[in-house]
Symmetry: C2
Subunit: 339 residues, 2 copies
């Protein structure tokens, strides 16, 4: 039997823990026999959930952790204090090489801080970006960086572009992914100081397929596979995406229920609409990887259901099988220094 | 008869010029007898359009301008070269006090550059922000700044907050408008250097109703009346709003037409849906004012139809009647220096 890919899952993180993380883990195991899952968290609660399912027991192990880091807690203090939290225990397993990856729907801040502090960055990586997949008309794009380290420098963005390209190519299977930088116009001379300085550096990069600026309105159209931006702007894009989407869908529903005539129409339209909108739902594709670490950390939505956990575990498999970190390492090594 | 508010309208700007600007101007005149309109542009083309309508001729005048600034032209060069363009002629009328305001659907860059260079800023205003109204679940919010001057400093943002509050209160009729600054978290300690420096300054402002940070996901929910941000981020928000909206609505339509059953449903749902989505369309509320100038300049969408032009002319009336610039001037004057 080939070596299994070991994924630690935070069974206590997110709005629907432990039910949904446990369910997602079981589904991932049923779907793919190359996966081994560690469910990290309060043993009794996890076992209670597990009792509902039939699953390959030889590929699942419960790792006890008595504490839980809550969403509101200040990340740095929480990581330092709660040594027996599911988050710290899971990340430590990755650091020690006991697990290849860690998936969590817990506090974003704590996952970001813990990922960098416990798992640590690959040598040469200046910042570890959080890179969610966002839905577009054509499929998904990788938005890099949406993390907590704002006010990036141009060389950070260049590394993000490279790591993002490697991820989209080898994990998502996009051949020669296109890379664009978020700007306020399509012309090269536009932009703020950061973008103006970064643009020529990206153009000079041989390892990426840089196509220039992208205006925010073209992001949902899927005009680039990798969308490079500084974390503040990335965070705004990510959250506005969710915000506009949910308000609009709410408006559509409201409109449909506003008269008897439209209510009847809504019943007829519903199944087709549900199917189409599903394709515009990022959770169908998995969580956001925190790239550039010595192991993979995937942050799923706080409201993640089993399907997102399952897809994120699948991402980890791809990540490991495609030797992503070795590829990132290789990119970072100066080619002239190679033997 | 009370003094009329004189609005110069760029009859040549935008995708549907001169037809829609002329139509919008005529509708505004028919709707409100306090308005006088100057239609600026190629006289013959404007007169040809006007022939279709009955309107109060004593309140409309055509001002000839032979040139047109195209969307692609570099703004600074275009403003300098095309002295007889509808844009330069209209802005010059505001500068000379021949018109109170100027409305244009032409090149955003040229309107921004021309507004500042020709109409010029009110003494004490450091930057003239472009402040579009964006649709929310509750109505509209003012997003300030979305202009071309990026990399703002904290004191710029404070002026934006004040001017935006005055605009929302006196032009849009929002009593004691709430002000929030765009940030990547709700907590005060979060953010980039600019936001961290600006936050205490806004909190110390007595003239505004500052409610703290706003995350991008809460903007569409209408959680603040005035959304303060630096122009790069503002531009991203504005364009992503349009982008996500149009892609989602496209998806909804696609879903509705995907089966015979859903097609029948779509017919029943359509009128109600159209009405609801109309309330989420910013063009229903008018264009984006360029604030802080010695006169009002309103930029409407390049794709503006008559309704948006009409609403923008109405905005100008409110602006003048409420003596907005005098109020901005008053705010800028140090109260201790007053007599």
């Amino acid at each position: 039997m080939a070596e299994l890919v070991k994924v630690a899952v935070d069974a206590m993180g997110g709005d629907f823990a432990p039910a949904e993380p446990v369910k997602g883990a079981v589904e991932a195991l049923q779907e793919n026999e190359k996966i081994f899952v560690y469910l990290v968290g309060r043993e009794e609660e996890i076992r209670r959930e597990l009792r509902q399912y039939t699953y390959p027991e030889e590929r699942l192990s419960v790792v006890p952790a008595s504490e839980v880091i809550e969403t509101g807690e200040p990340p740095v203090a929480a990581i330092q204090k709660k040594k027996d939290s599911s988050l710290v225990v899971g990340l430590t397993m990755v650091r020690r090489g006991e697990a290849d990856a860690f998936v969590s729907s817990g506090s974003t801040g704590a996952v970001l801080v813990g990922g960098q502090a416990i798992v640590r960055k690959i040598k040469g990586v200046e910042r570890a970006p959080l890179a969610p997949l966002i839905p577009t008309e054509k499929g998904v794009s990788l938005l890099i960086d949406c993390g907590a380290n704002v006010d990036a420098r141009p060389n950070h963005l260049v590394q993000f572009a490279a790591m993002g390209s490697i991820y989209m190519e080898y994990v998502m299977g996009v051949r020669k992914p296109t890379v664009a930088i978020v700007n306020i116009g399509a012309e090269e001379e536009k932009g703020n100081a950061l973008v103006k300085e970064t643009f020529p550096l990206l153009r000079a990069c041989k390892d990426i397929h840089f196509i220039g600026n992208i205006e925010a309105r073209d992001i949902p159209k899927g005009k680039a596979d990798v969308i490079v931006t500084e974390a503040f702007v990335g965070n705004v894009i990510l959250k506005l995406y969710e915000g506009v989407g949910s308000v609009l869908i709410h408006k559509v529903k409201e409109g449909m229920l506003s008269s008897l005539r439209s209510k009847i129409g809504a019943l007829l339209v519903k199944p087709a609409l549900k199917q189409t909108l599903k394709s515009f739902d990022a959770s169908e594709y998995g969580g956001a990887p925190l790239l550039g670490l010595r192991g993979l950390v995937v942050k799923t939505h706080g409201s993640a259901r089993a399907v997102e956990i399952r897809h994120s575990i699948q991402q980890c498999l791809q990540f490991r099988e495609q030797a992503l970190n070795e590829k990132i390492q290789q990119y970072l090594t100066d080619p002239s220094a190679e033997k």
